[in-house]
């Protein structure tokens, strides 16, 4: 029943279904979307209202919260009062004094309970001194021990402000680029092999792999565009990576046009192979060097974090790497079908003439 060479096609499909299922159904970790008020003065007693996302504030046991200053200084909330699952109000009595001489302190809100686990909202509250003369005393800040935190249950994707649910696009947008680059490498390797052997089979392969890579590039732009609409509020920005991809796509679309010219087969194959190699080499500074030299809105540029830390934690990795593999295998499958079609077509024409 299962034919030879079928296992990788099947595994590609299964992996992609796994990514689709997991990437779309696994919930995000709880997080805080907004805090009110956002600033306070020393000595105030404040009612801090936090609005959460994917949280279970109303039904939790043993809920606690802190306003944290740094690794040793924090104050604990006096009560936990919530009407529904997404809203909670804490009362904090802010000490009269600041722990050291700075005018404004950003305080981070830490919330911990048994259902949601512990999570942090950085720079939740800006605390400034109520008096002109700065007096500082660390004692009221150090007596609140943070203690043991609860872990959240099950697999959840990280909650990142601004990104929110769109973090799932990592499995499609980013993975498409990785798969595209793998396919391009295959294409250029086959082009080199064509030049050294003059076997049309390699020309067909190079062309098929490059074509599917261009298709992936277009999908990558589309998914990126949608993502940008939700995070940067625009479909297209003057970002260096966007410009460079646009150029790269133009170069490869020119390749497709060149490959479609009405030359004789030998010449067409040779020119296409040479152009493909040249284009690939021209792509390297475009994709790997210039974007690294300029600021970009993308992760990994201009001080933004890249594939690491909390942006790609182990839960995302569980789907991100399989997604690259799945997309690559599906691309290889499509390329294989194109190659077979082209092979039959060439064979047919050869017989006819």
């Amino acid at each position: 029943m299962i034919q030879k060479g079928m296992w990788w096609k099947l595994s590609g499909i299964i992996l992609f279904l796994y990514v689709l299922w997991g990437g779309m159904t696994i919930p995000l970790r709880p997080g805080i979307t907004s805090i009110n008020p956002s600033s306070a003065k020393t000595g105030d007693t404040i009612e801090l209202k936090a609005t959460g996302y994917n949280t279970h504030f109303a039904s939790v046991r043993n809920g606690r919260a802190w306003l944290k200053l740094d690794s040793v200084h924090a104050i604990k909330a006096l009560n936990w009062q919530s009407e529904n699952n997404n809203e909670v109000t804490f009362r904090f009595i802010l000490p009269q004094t600041l722990p050291n001489a700075t005018e404004v302190f950003p305080l981070h809100l830490i919330i911990d309970n048994e259902t949601d686990g512990a999570f942090v909202h950085p720079n939740a509250l800006f605390l400034s001194s109520s008096t002109d003369t700065l007096s500082f005393d660390a004692i009221p800040w150090t007596k609140h021990e943070l203690g043991q935190f609860n872990d959240h249950q099950g697999i959840q994707f990280p909650y990142r402000s601004i990104l929110n649910e769109t973090i799932r696009n990592t499995f499609f947008h980013v993975a498409l680029w990785f798969a595209m680059f793998l396919l391009l490498i295959f294409g250029v390797v086959y082009s080199i092999r064509y030049l050294s052997t003059s076997d049309y089979e390699f020309d067909r392969k190079a062309s098929a792999y490059t074509n599917i890579a261009v298709l992936y590039g277009i999908f990558g732009i589309l998914t990126g565009s949608v993502w940008a609409k939700f995070t940067w509020n625009t479909f297209w920005t003057n970002d260096v990576k966007l410009n460079m991809t646009a150029i790269a796509l133009l170069i490869y679309l020119a390749y497709i046009i060149l490959r479609g010219m009405n030359y004789d087969q030998d010449k067409r194959a040779r020119l296409a192979a040479i152009y493909n190699i040249f284009a690939f080499i021209a792509l390297i500074p475009l994709v790997f060097v210039i974007p690294r030299m300029t600021d970009s809105l993308h992760p990994g540029n201009g001080g933004n974090p890249a594939l690491g830390g909390e942006d790609l934690d182990h839960t995302l990795r569980m789907f991100f790497y399989p997604s690259i593999l799945a997309l690559f295998l599906i691309g290889k499958w499509i390329a294989e079908l194109t190659i077979r079609f082209e092979r039959v077509k060439d064979h047919f024409y050869l017989k006819k003439s």
């Binding site: 030049l195 150029i247 170069i251 020119a254 040779r270 475009l286």
Partner: protein
Amino acid sequence: MNRISEIFLKELVVEFRQKYALGGIFLFSATIVFLVYKVFNQVSGLEWSIMLWIITLFAGLNAIVKSFVQEKKETYLYYYCLFDPLELITAKLIYNILFLGLLFISILIFMSLFLGFPVKDPALFFMGSSLGLTGIAIILTFVSLIANSEQSGSTLMSVLSIPLILPIMMLLLKITAVSLRLISDTSVDQDVWMLAGIDAIMLGTVIVLFPFLWRS
């Protein structure tokens, strides 16, 4: 070396035999500059730099299209027997780079005649321009090799070469903008090095790939 200079001289002789074509390219650039002058009347630094490079790009495209297209198939066969491909491509590249440089200088003269010369940092400007022109000439030579012996040669030529030239163009426009003091950038040296790096990569690739192209 001697043979390279011979091929180079041959190119020069062939070019001067077709005085009309040569004059046509220079007249083309002069006309375009005059058109720009009449359209804009007053040109700011930004527009000046953009127009300079756009005109250079298209004039260069017109000029280098014929660097391989102009010759007949029989002549090619003759060359094939006569020269080593490495010597031929070196001579062609040197010729095209110098030709594009000459074209650029003439466009620059026309532009400064009609529209002024707003460059504040000539050293950077000419450094960046010469590197950029080298890169453009290399790419155009390479693409004209691919697009030769085909009726739709010049369309294919612009389709293939413009995307390849775009990154060089972006770096060039930035370097020009810095040398015109339109923007200030302390890391402009990096861009110049980048341009030199792209040139080196392109040059290496063309030299490696030329023998394969040459076999037809």
